[in-house]
Symmetry: C2
Subunit: 385 residues, 2 copies
Amino acid sequence: MNNFNYSIPTEVYFGKGQIKNLAEIANLGTKVLMVYGGGSIKRNGAYDEACAVLHEAGTKYYELSGVDPNPRIDTVRMGAELCRSKDIDVVLAIGGGSTIDCSKVIAAAACYDGDPWDLVLDGSKIKAALPVVTVLTMAATGSEMNGNAVISDMGANEKLGTYSHWLKPVFSIEDPKYTYSLPAGQTAAGVADIMSHVFEQYFTTVSGGFIQARLCEAILKTCIQYGPVAIKTPKNYDARANIMWASSLALNELIGYGSGMPWTVHGMEHELSAFYDITHGVGLAILTPFWMDKVLSDETTPKFAEYGRNVWGLSDADDDMTTAKKSIECTREFFKSMGLPETLTEAGVEEKSLPVMAAKLKNTFKKTYVPLSEADVLEIYQAAL
Amino acid sequence: MNNFNYSIPTEVYFGKGQIKNLAEIANLGTKVLMVYGGGSIKRNGAYDEACAVLHEAGTKYYELSGVDPNPRIDTVRMGAELCRSKDIDVVLAIGGGSTIDCSKVIAAAACYDGDPWDLVLDGSKIKAALPVVTVLTMAATGSEMNGNAVISDMGANEKLGTYSHWLKPVFSIEDPKYTYSLPAGQTAAGVADIMSHVFEQYFTTVSGGFIQARLCEAILKTCIQYGPVAIKTPKNYDARANIMWASSLALNELIGYGSGMPWTVHGMEHELSAFYDITHGVGLAILTPFWMDKVLSDETTPKFAEYGRNVWGLSDADDDMTTAKKSIECTREFFKSMGLPETLTEAGVEEKSLPVMAAKLKNTFKKTYVPLSEADVLEIYQAAL
């Protein structure tokens, strides 16, 4: 097990009616920038309830709406400008990962003199940020409890992740009921995203991370148990609650502490989103089984067999290689069962882009679970086409 | 799943050589009260290394040594007095749960005008505390990451737990190497304590806590995997690291959020310790299987069967009741295999005390996993004799 520094300062108010605790925002300041995407937060009740609490708490709030999935650097620039011109104290994100990511970088950009894209390229340039508070309405990215943010510059076909301790929300409201109205496709994509976060930390060459591996399996089993339930019965509270809490625990750093290493599939997916603006979780669900096919080898077989037995309950009677292959098939079938597309073609990706995307990643995966060359990446993309 | 508020503010520096980060204590003040027990921290290197870092950091430190296992309220009174007379800024605990618990209540008592025992009887009276920092040298109680403290008044045969958010350490140093020199008996007792913390949260009637149950199982499997390894090869780093991290995660609130309820076996054990001053983990290891025997019923069988299959890998082929009974036998055999005593008699407890202890608990377990009357408690004690 590697050394690590545990620091998860975000407080979470989890459960039904927890929006009342949004009143705590008044401790952070009186002028709030409320950031959100489209109209979904008006349909699921989060917007009205948040406004009522903010009003009651005596805060003054400004709105920045229209944050896109795969949030744009242009929106960040606009938000940072608003923070400065209105003398904002707190940034409040109401939405899913895109809105929260965008809000985080707005909060940092408001305290930075240069162009916000600098902070996306290099998180260490973030030396301060306005406090961020979130009201989560989609379970997927874990952004509600971590210091990560992914921002796109669509003009340049760039989608990049940044990180800073400064970006960790002060507190987050997680009410599973806000996710009742999510369409099945978004629920499925969210579950795939959560599982992918776990895979990126579960498949590691760091030895001795036994407890971390078991924690990963706990989250994966939760997704497998409740993903289909939430799709079939969208208002099943326990399903929504388990998935929402899984999303936070999958990426609040906990399961990676001591055994984490650089990620793979997320990097490959970011290229897809940057070129085609497809839903992040969809891209991950498509690529993951093909990545697994590619990295399965004599060396990695024991880990995949462990995955198959501990997560999918595959029989001890089979040998490791058989179990490993079955575990990949289970993964593929699970994503398919949730209605997610299986190929890049279905998601609108064209063959001609594959070499361009692979080329951009030629030096990215040198220290990953299984290092991948540009040719390896292209092979995975092509297999997934 | 129930609502919950997640708040785990303690930072942890985990791993080899992390004592260097003790220098951060200088951010909290310049006058430190260093609290510890007997000579073990001088043998395991923690004392010398901590002193060197404190010296280098320019802090001035006073020492309060001799904290007993089952720490005494008298020691707390002495420590609080020292804090006031020396104008202490920070309390630094170096040791295991007893030392940390004692230090926490000292830190609170230093900011309280009345007698410290008030704060043990009622944690809500704690309205402030000096910052607490810990250097952990035994994996067991989880005190390094939570707001709990258990203090005894041996004269009155009282051993009581208190809780306050104010008691949560600001940061903790967890270097598994400091546990290399623990005797086998203490290692085993620590593992039993960790497992008992998990059992108290795993066996719950709150429905829908799927992810919590899986997290519990992750920690239990870690204890089962590495407890025997640490006993056999005390300097196995990964064994010590997994057990140490398990101790923190078992009782930093995480696994109980959303599904926790009042505890049972700890309450029963506190009476043993209060009357006989036996090692907490030993008392828990003795009582746990007998408590399991007692609460196993048609109603609880599915949960015990789940425990047997998911934690002990028992076959799906057996029916629930068979699996449930086997799971209890596995638990009993596991504690025995680590060299822990199986009966209260072995631990020096006399039959004549049992009714007195049971009587003290007559109203304690009315809302537990399975409610227990005074007669039920006595029956468990007698079975364990």
